[in-house]
């Protein structure tokens, strides 16, 4: 087992690829074998990352479990991986959600083998972003995750729906959504790609640990342009790429489409993990590489975050499609993450900044849990009713009480009810940001009000009110497999809500050591 513990991160990173290769060998008509095998294989990275969690020493500064191997020698890029408390939390989230998402996809019947293979490849793409300590390798995983997601939406997305383009041509909604998703993200990454190239040319290395020292200290003009301007442009190139992924208003428009059309498990991963990549990019790259620019533009970023919070909540309230409602709620919740980051960027050395960042990281984890759970619950009811229109539901509580209970519990976690996880993280963000960006934080509180409104609207339209008679006798209770999918999420929501210290300690130490060198 020594080899596993020496190369633990590599094992975590590539065990899903290994799983995918195993699946390639299984004949495609062995559907149920493929499903169970995919599920079992996805437990390997989970098990390894739990081992990682317990062997991680949160009091040590810097990155642990580092590995470095030659990869692209002529341009000085290496396969360099490592974890700190921030990435550790995200790795745990990813490896936890993937098996659940795979279990949630057992109802997929079309080309199960390809579907499961794509899912496992997607997991490697996501983990790679969190683990890499080389800018080029980071970008590699950043982009490669798009491909499986594109095909998951494009091929296994909802079959109904059409979108009219300019000129009146119609195309299936899932094709529209997946195309928008990938082109939006790729175009957004273009600036990131160019900025990474420029940093590579100027610094002669892509190693993050070295870039943290070289790049912020650089102060002579580049290409005949003052360094401040170059860095400001590069800052925005990074920031926009990550803002699209988060997504921050006004770059969010791909998200409702992609979520609505994606298969249930795809939405779970999309909301649960993919959105975190953007926020993680801010934490891992933007703040350490551009401390001055981040401070200078923190106000702008905070403004966008507040807009995301308020408009996200309003837009969610305005939806009649249950899945779209949940999709916009992601915009709203991720706004708090960005608000925390913006506030921290403005006064990085203060204690308040540390609190805001702690809240932001915990909010990333929490939103991962609750958004995945919400999308799963939408999927459960969609599978039974074949509609997502809120007006079609109504009064379902007596018919499916267990489902109703779980939905209310999850909604409350999402709403930020004290005692559940969402409260802790949103409180920390607000507590940290208030002294730094008081006005924006106050405005964000208004958004929080509407969060309550749209969440209650969702509950009311589905569970309460007069019973829509056509469902009587036609709707079945949530089944055992589905309960297994959601139970771990519910447990974690409650656990973090009641006793957050186990995870907050790790995050807290990581934040102060990484951003404040203490």
């Amino acid at each position: 087992m020594e080899i596993v513990s020496n190369y633990l991160l590599t094992f975590i990173l590539f065990s899903p690829v290994f799983g995918a290769l195993v699946l390639v060998l299984i004949p495609r008509d062995q559907v149920s074998l493929i499903r169970w095998l995919a599920f079992a294989l996805s437990l390997i990275p989970l098990g390894l990352s739990i081992a990682l969690w317990f062997n991680f020493q949160s009091d040590l500064p810097g990155f642990q479990f580092q590995e470095q191997a030659t990869w692209y020698a002529p341009i000085n890029s290496t396969y360099h991986v490592g974890v700190d408390g921030i990435s550790l939390t995200m790795v745990l989230l990813t490896t936890l959600l993937t098996p659940l998402a795979i279990l949630a996809s057992f109802n997929i019947t079309d080309r199960v083998k390809s579907y499961m293979i794509l899912f496992l490849l997607l997991e490697t793409g996501l983990l790679g972003v969190f683990l890499s300590l080389d800018l080029l390798v980071f970008f590699l995983f950043w982009e490669i995750g798009l491909v499986p997601m594109y095909f998951l939406i494009n091929q296994w997305g909802s079959e109904k729906g059409e979108r009219e383009l300019w000129g009146g041509r119609k195309m299936p909604a899932r094709n529209y959504a997946s195309f928008k998703f990938i082109v939006y993200t790729m175009a957004g990454s273009l600036g990131l790609l160019l900025a990474i190239q420029m940093i590579g040319v100027v610094s002669g290395t892509f190693d993050l640990l070295r870039l943290y020292e070289i790049w912020p200290a650089l102060n002579q003009p580049l290409f005949g342009i003052p360094i401040g301007t170059v860095k400001a442009i590069a800052f925005w190139a990074f920031a926009i790429a990550f803002a699209i992924k988060v997504p921050v208003w006004p770059f969010h428009t791909w998200l409702p489409d992609a979520h609505t059309e994606a298969p249930t498990a795809g939405s779970m991963i999309l909301a649960g993990v993919l959105l975190k990549l953007g926020a993680y990019g801010f934490l891992r790259l933007v703040l350490p590489l551009y401390p001055e620019q981040a401070k200078a533009y923190a106000g702008a970023l905070g403004f966008l975050a507040v807009m995301a919070i308020i408009f996200g909540a309003f837009a969610a309230y305005g939806q009649n499609d249950f899945k779209r409602l949940v999709a916009y709620s992601s915009v709203n919740h991720m706004g708090f993450v960005v608000l925390g980051i913006a506030a921290a960027a403005f006064a990085i050395d203060t204690n308040n900044a540390a609190i805001a960042l702690e809240g932001a990281v915990l909010q990333m984890f929490n939103h991962g849990l609750s958004a995945a759970a919400m999308f799963f619950l939408v999927g459960v009811i969609y599978e039974r009713t074949h509609t997502r229109d809120l007006n079609e539901y109504g009064g379902l509580f007596p018919l499916i009480p267990v489902y109703g209970g779980i939905l209310i519990f999850t909604s409350m976690a999402s709403l930020g009810l004290p005692g559940l996880n969402g409260f802790i993280s949103e409180f920390l963000v607000v507590r940290g940001s208030w002294p730094i960006l008081t006005l924006y934080t106050a405005l964000a509180m208004i958004g929080l009000l509407f969060t309550g409104a749209y969440i209650l609207k969702g509950i009311k339209m589905v569970l309460h009110g007069p019973l829509n008679e056509k469902w009587a006798g036609h709707i079945s209770e949530i089944n055992a497999r589905e309960i297994v999918v959601i139970a771990p999420l519910l447990v974690l929501m409650l656990w973090i809500g009641i006793w957050p210290a186990w995870i907050l300690n790790v995050i807290n130490r990581a934040i102060t050591m990484f951003f404040q060198g203490a």
Binding site: T70, W71, Y72, A73, P74, I75, L136, F139, L140, F141, W142, E143, I144, V147, N154, Q155, N175, F179, I182, V183, M186, A187, L190, L193, L194, Q197, M198, G200, V201, F223
Partner: protein, 490 residues
């Protein structure tokens, strides 16, 4: 005496081609087996050369030199360096897969393979030649069979026109280059065509200013440089599948490679003078080529124009004259060669069954040809420069090299990435995944086992380089260092 491995690689195809002409025309299977055997020998040898090339030592290796016409200073002088060894491998791969996917070709396969193999000898010859005269000799051998291959076996609608256009373009280009080469021969006063000698000739700046464009652009025509590119899409489209694979996969590299070896390496001062103009022209290649590919309605034309765009990146990389740019260009030659061979193989497989290449009349191919779909997606990812595939490994340093020259050009050229993504996704969506048109329903079958071998082989190479670039980039870097030495560390 060491085993003359490069000569074996160069002459195996032509010998096999001549042997095939002695096989009676009706014995088609024997012809094909002979062709496959020769292709496997050439591939095996080029794999051996690639992996036994000593990167640490660098420079030219596997050198053979025999005097041929001593009174004119012409010798048979061959060898490979880090730049050409991957290209020899590329030619071996394309030749092998080209034979596999042409297995079912029924119209005079004997003559077809014979001409194709004569062409292959020419291509191998150019990549290993260290003597200017030999280089021209093999260059013409590579260009001439193309005319017959397209005019006889090509697409009926445009084959005469395309074959004529292609041949005239390339001959004019090579004649212009030849004039420049002769000027070098006479002015150097060394009385030799040996390129290793000519490298040291120290031509004056004025000489280089005058003659560099002749040599560089003469060859760059075959590399598809704007505005001399428009023979290439027509040629690609009219050619039969295996010839398109050779043509876009290998032949265009021949132009770029010769422009590098004869133009930039022998006249480095000239290269420095014209560098900004070449970068501008290739910028047009890269962006405009991608845009034209986007608006095509014919599947094969899309791929044809995508080659123009990607070859623009190769020459843009050369024109940066710095390490990153040239490194990327070297890798891009290999990567694009494999990728475009894969693309044309896929187009051919679809056309053979659907009898149309109109994108709007195709659809639903993934249901019947899942492997073809997968292979096209892999090629598409390479084309888009998706990280994890070889295209990214090649394009990234090219862009870094361009950053070293002009940030603005890098930013403008990056537009092509989004355009490329659009046309690739459009084809994937339309041809492979949308509903199959009714008139095709039931007429499309899956491909043969040999076709599958070819596609898997090509796709695997693209992924291996993308996942572990050091397998190729270190070698190319050693070749680039040699060029940089000539450029005086510029």
């Amino acid at each position: 005496m060491q085993f003359p491995i490069l000569s074996v690689i160069v002459f195996t195809p032509i010998i096999a081609g001549v042997l095939m002409l002695f096989i009676p025309a009706e014995r088609k299977t024997e012809t094909r087996v002979t062709a496959l055997a020769a292709a496997i020998i050439a591939l095996g040898m080029s794999v051996f050369v690639y992996f036994s090339y000593n990167v640490g030592a660098g420079g030219y290796q596997f050198i053979e030199k025999y005097s041929w016409l001593p009174q004119f200073g012409i010798s048979y002088h061959v060898g490979v360096d880090g730049m050409s060894a991957p290209l020899v491998l590329l030619t071996g791969v394309v030749m092998f897969t080209g034979v596999l996917i042409s297995w079912g070709m029924d119209d005079r396969p004997r003559e077809f393979f014979a001409f194709l193999f004569i062409l292959a000898t020419g291509v191998f010859g150019v990549f290993v030649a260290l003597d200017l005269f030999m280089l021209f000799f093999f260059y013409e051998i590579a260009v001439f069979p193309m005319y017959l291959l397209i005019a006889i076996w090509g697409w009926k609608e445009t084959r005469e026109y395309a074959a004529m256009k292609l041949t005239l373009y390339l001959f004019i280009g090579s004649v212009i280059a030849l004039v420049g080469a002769l000027a070098m021969y006479f002015v150097s006063g060394l009385g030799t065509f040996d390129m290793l000698e000519l490298e040291k000739a120290g031509f004056s700046a004025d000489f280089q200013r005058l003659w560099f464009p002749f040599v560089f652009f003469g060859f760059a025509v075959l590399g598809g440089i704007f505005p001399f590119h428009n023979w290439s899409p027509d040629g690609h489209v009219a050619a039969p599948t295996a010839v398109s694979m050779f043509h876009a996969g290998v032949l265009m590299k021949l132009g770029a490679f010769a422009a590098l070896r004869v133009g930039i390496m022998l006249m480095p001062e000239g290269a420095k003078i014209y560098m900004p103009w070449i970068i501008l022209l290739t910028l047009v290649n890269v962006v405009y080529g991608a845009y034209i590919a986007l608006v095509q309605s014919d599947f094969k034309y899309v791929i044809g124009f995508s080659s123009v765009s990607h070859m623009g990146l190769v020459m843009m990389g050369f024109a940066t004259l710095n390490q990153n740019g040239m490194l990327g260009a070297g890798v891009q030659m290999f990567s694009h060669g494999i990728m475009t061979a894969l693309f044309f193989a896929v187009v051919g497989m679809i056309y053979d069954q659907a009898h149309t290449r109109e994108i709007n009349k195709l659809g639903g191919m993934n249901k019947v040809m899942p492997l073809v779909t997968l292979a096209f997606i892999v090629g598409g990812m390479v084309s888009m420069g998706m990280p994890g595939f070889s295209g990214f490994i090649a394009e990234f340093p090219i862009f870094m090299g361009v950053w070293g020259r002009s940030p603005w050009i890098a930013i403008l050229a990056a537009i092509s990435i989004v355009i490329t993504a659009s046309y690739i996704l459009r084809i994937i969506g339309r041809v492979f995944f949308s509903r199959m048109p009714e008139d095709l329903e039931g007429h499309i079958k899956d491909i043969t086992a040999l076709d599958k071998v070819a596609l898997v082989f090509l796709s695997a190479i693209l992924i291996v380089i993308g996942v572990y670039p050091d397998i190729m980039v270190v070698m190319v870097e050693s070749g680039v260092n040699n060029i940089l030495r000539l450029l005086g560390g510029a």
